[in-house]
């Protein structure tokens, strides 16, 4: 599973960080760092809780890769900004 980060939509609510500070890292202004987040096995619950907590809908859970054993994800993704 990974989290698609729509950086332009982040407004610094930091709710994801409050749920899982090790998964959702913030810059000095308190906004999420750019780049999608690959979620480690065993961190999927806090990661999806964090993604769901975003008031701006800036985080999108992409679980299409969860069923695969290959970590590389070559599938095109919808909704990339």
């Amino acid at each position: 599973m990974h989290i698609v980060v729509h950086k332009a939509k982040c407004q610094g609510h930091a709710r994801c960080w409050a749920q899982a500070p090790d998964i959702f890292k913030l810059d000095d202004e308190g906004y999420i760092l750019p780049g999608d987040i690959q979620v480690e096995e065993g961190e999927q619950l806090p990661a999806s809780q964090g993604a769901r907590s975003c008031p701006e809908r800036a985080l999108e859970v992409d679980s299409t890769s969860a069923a695969r054993f290959e970590p590389a994800d070559t599938q095109p993704r919808a909704g990339e900004a």
């Binding site: 407004q11 609510h13 960080w17 000095d28 202004e29 308190g30 809780q49 008031p55 701006e56 809908r57």
Partner: protein, 405 residues
């Protein structure tokens, strides 16, 4: 009312009779619940026109669904926040910064100020906030078995955190509380007078810090650079006024509404007292249930929005308390469930103007509740008294007499 004629472009069938200023429960009401009183709009359409929905009696479009409020507030290119709310009380026209700036100027100032109130910076402020809460509550506990939460705790607490942020001593606390009350809830004489007093104070403080820098907020502002230059006097003033206006009343009101809820719900109160680790989550639900701000934007161009012909210059209201009771966004929105998960409430707004002080406000509320519950026994509304609540631009609670005898 002839004063509030509906503009010609608003179809008569889109005019609604709900107003955050005049509807039932919005005027000062003993034992009122103004946030709950707004929920009735969800029986109606997603957008309607309210002919009297600002303090000065202007009409606004009202956006009821959370998802539509998100769309409006995320789109600052179409919906501007430059209304000169503070300056217009003085017959002037300058923006509170960054709130009343639109992109791209907004981003420049926002980036300057964000680090001062970031989640990490707030963590560093916490010990001082907690110390202040403890001092106030211990003094309340020592002086009897009853108090007025607003006068004895919520306002002094919020104001003292603000003073600390500005690097000012606490002895001016009562003066500040008076200014804030007059500014936000005073009549047409008191409001401009308070506005002038606050401006003079901010100008004076800025001048002092320019002359003799210390390690505080105002020193940072007067020394800061944007786009390779120092800030102008008007910009310094715009920032100072916003911090003053935004930080005082809102936090105090939130704490008041929250403690009023707990005073009336002894089981929930006891749950949080015996399991204080639940307070962080509960505070989010209380923010959902009792937000205080009506956000207003001005259309910068004509746009048809969910069938409504919004025209350039129209006011568009995104009331946080309305979004927070949206049944398409929250399951059982009228039930206050302190264990609610996935609570993406709108208390701090959406979009680029998301409340700059939200991280501090959250911690103020949580710390206030933690220390209150830890230091005082079961409390209730004092018999024979009734908290007076009101709606408006910023929802408020005037008094909250509680008793633990």
């Amino acid at each position: 009312m002839t004063l509030n004629q509906v503009p010609d472009h608003v179809p008569p069938e889109m005019v609604g009779d709900f107003s955050l200023f005049t509807s039932p429960g919005m005027l000062p009401t003993p034992d009122g619940d103004p946030q709950a009183a707004t929920a009735c709009v969800h029986a109606g359409p997603p957008i309607f026109y309210s002919p009297f929905n600002t303090r000065d009696g202007r009409g606004t479009w009202v956006i009821t669904r959370a998802t539509d409020q998100r769309r409006v507030l995320q789109d600052a290119d179409t919906f501007s926040s430059h209304r000169s709310i503070f300056a217009s009380a003085l017959g002037e026209n300058w923006p509170m910064i960054p709130l009343e700036l639109d992109p791209p100027a907004h981003g420049v100032f926002r980036s300057l100020l964000n680090p001062l109130l970031s989640p990490k910076r707030v963590m560093a402020l916490e010990p001082a906030v907690r110390e202040r809460a403890i001092a106030l509550i211990d003094s309340i506990a020592a002086s009897g078995t009853s108090c007025d939460v607003m006068k004895d705790f919520a306002f002094p607490f919020a104001v003292s955190i603000f003073l600390r942020l500005l690097g000012l001593p606490d002895h001016r606390l009562h003066t500040f509380v008076g200014w804030a009350k007059d500014l936000l809830h005073g009549d047409d004489v008191k409001r401009p007078a308070a506005a002038r007093t606050i401006l003079a104070f901010i100008d004076e403080l800025a001048a002092m810090r320019r002359e003799e820098p210390v390690d505080d907020f105002m020193t940072f502002i007067v020394q800061a650079q944007v786009e390779g230059r120092r800030l102008t006097d008007e910009e310094v003033r715009g920032i100072g006024v916003l911090v003053f206006v935004a930080g005082l009343d809102t936090v105090a009101a939130a704490i008041g509404f929250d403690l009023a809820f707990l005073a009336r719900h002894p089981e929930e109160q006891e749950l949080l007292r015996s399991e204080p680790n639940r307070i962080v989550l509960a505070a989010e639900e209380l923010l959902r249930a009792y937000p205080t701000v009506q956000i207003i934007r001005v259309a910068r161009k004509d746009i048809d929005f969910e069938g409504a012909p919004i025209r350039k210059g129209d006011y568009v209201s995104c009331a946080t308390m309305i979004a927070n009771r949206d049944p398409t966004e929250f399951e059982c929105p009228d039930t206050i469930d302190l264990m609610r998960e996935d609570n993406r409430h709108a208390a701090f707004g959406y979009g680029p103007h998301r409340c700059l002080g939200s991280h501090l406000a959250r911690r103020d509320i949580v710390i206030g509740l933690e220390e209150w519950l830890a230091r005082l026994p079961a409390f209730r509304i004092k018999e024979g008294t009734a908290p007076i609540t009101c709606g408006g631009h910023v929802f408020g609670i005037e008094n909250l007499i509680v008793d633990w005898s």
